[in-house]
C-alpha cells in the first residue's frame, strides 16, 4: 500500500518548522522538541536534506538549519526519493519498466504522476496547506452521531 512513511512525515514536519521560522537558524533539538520527534533520527534526515540542498546548515554553538529557497520546485516524489528509494521501484518492489501487468503499471504511472505534481511548498506553507481535511469534518460527525444513537438506544425502555 502506498502511504507517506514516518521518515517523510518527519522531514515535512521539519521543513515546515523551518519554513515558518524562515529568517532564523533553528536547531535540530528545537525542531525535535516542538514536534516530539526522535532527535537522532531527525538529525540523520536533516543531514540528507542538507546534502540534497533542501536545507542549509550553519555551524557553531548557535548553529542549526534554515530552509532553502525554491521548495516550490521540489516535488513530494523527489523528497521520497531523497529519503527512501525511488517510488517507481517501491510501488511494485521492482522497476516500473519491468514486465509487470499492464493495468497495474498504468496505475503506478498515475501514482507517480500524483507524487510529482505535489510540491513540498504546497504541504508546508501556512495559508496554502490544508488545516482540516474534508473527511475529518464528516468523520467527526458520523462518529458523534453513532455515539448519540447508541446512547439513545441504551435509554430506550426494554
Amino acid at each position: 500500500m502506498l502511504c507517506v512513511s514516518k521518515k517523510v512525515d518527519y522531514a515535512l514536519s521539519a521543513l515546515s518548522f523551518l519554513a515558518v521560522h524562515a529568517g532564523r537558524v533553528c536547531s535540530a533539538r528545537e525542531i525535535a522538541e516542538t514536534h516530539n520527534l526522535p532527535l537522532p533520527r531527525l538529525m540523520n534526515l536533516l543531514k540528507r536534506l542538507h546534502r540534497k540542498g533542501l536545507v542549509r546548515s550553519v555551524r557553531g554553538v548557535r548553529g542549526g538549519y534554515h530552509v532553502s529557497e525554491g521548495l516550490d520546485r521540489v516535488s513530494l516524489y523527489e523528497l521520497i526519493t531523497i529519503l527512501e528509494v525511488d517510488p517507481a521501484h517501491r510501488l511494485n518492489g521492482e522497476a516500473i519498466e519491468g514486465n509487470g501487468f499492464g493495468p497495474v503499471q498504468a496505475l503506478q504511472y498515475r501514482l507517480i504522476g500524483f507524487l510529482k505534481s505535489v510540491s513540498i511548498a504546497d504541504l508546508i506553507v501556512p495559508g496554502r496547506r490544508i488545516d482540516v481535511p474534508l473527511e475529518r469534518v464528516r468523520a467527526t460527525k458520523r462518529k458523534h452521531h453513532k455515539q448519540q444513537t447508541r446512547l439513545e438506544a441504551s435509554l430506550q425502555p426494554a
Binding site: L12, A19, V20, V118, R129, V132, P133, R136, R142, H144
Partner: protein, 115 residues
C-alpha cells in the same frame, strides 16, 4: 471581527450538512458549524470543525456566514476572532484552510499554531 467563511467553504459545509441530514444525523435547518481550537497539536493548539445541532451554549459566540450558522466557544474565540476559513480542492487533497491573523507561529505538523 468574527469568524468568516469564504463562499467556497460555506458551499462545501452546506453540502456536508445536506449529506449528513440525508443520513439522518440531524435536521439540515438545525445544523451548525462548530469551530474551535483544541489542545494536542505540536505547538499547543489545532483547528477543529464539527457539525452539530446543539443550541448555542452560554459560553458560545454565535454568528452566520453565507447562510451557515457558526458556533464558537469563548476560549476558542480568543484565538479565532478574525479568522477566515477557505476551502481548497487541489491535487494534494480537499479541505479547509485557516487564515488566522492571530497565529504568530504556525506549526510544522500542519494542524496547530501558537497565538
Amino acid at each position: 471581527m468574527a469568524i468568516n467563511l469564504t463562499e467556497a467553504a460555506a458551499s462545501e459545509i452546506k453540502k456536508i450538512i445536506e449529506d449528513q441530514a440525508k443520513e439522518g444525523a440531524f435536521k439540515a435547518e438545525d445544523a451548525k458549524l462548530r469551530v474551535g481550537v483544541k489542545g494536542g497539536g505540536c505547538s499547543g493548539f489545532s483547528y477543529m470543525l464539527d457539525l452539530t445541532e446543539e443550541p448555542k451554549g452560554e459560553t458560545d459566540e454565535e454568528m452566520e456566514a453565507h447562510g451557515v450558522k457558526i458556533l464558537c466557544d469563548m476560549k476558542s474565540y480568543l484565538y479565532l476572532n478574525g479568522v477566515e476559513i477557505d476551502f481548497k480542492d487541489e491535487v494534494m487533497g480537499r479541505g479547509f484552510v485557516f487564515k488566522n491573523p492571530n497565529a504568530t507561529s504556525t506549526c510544522g505538523c500542519g494542524s496547530s499554531f501558537q497565538a
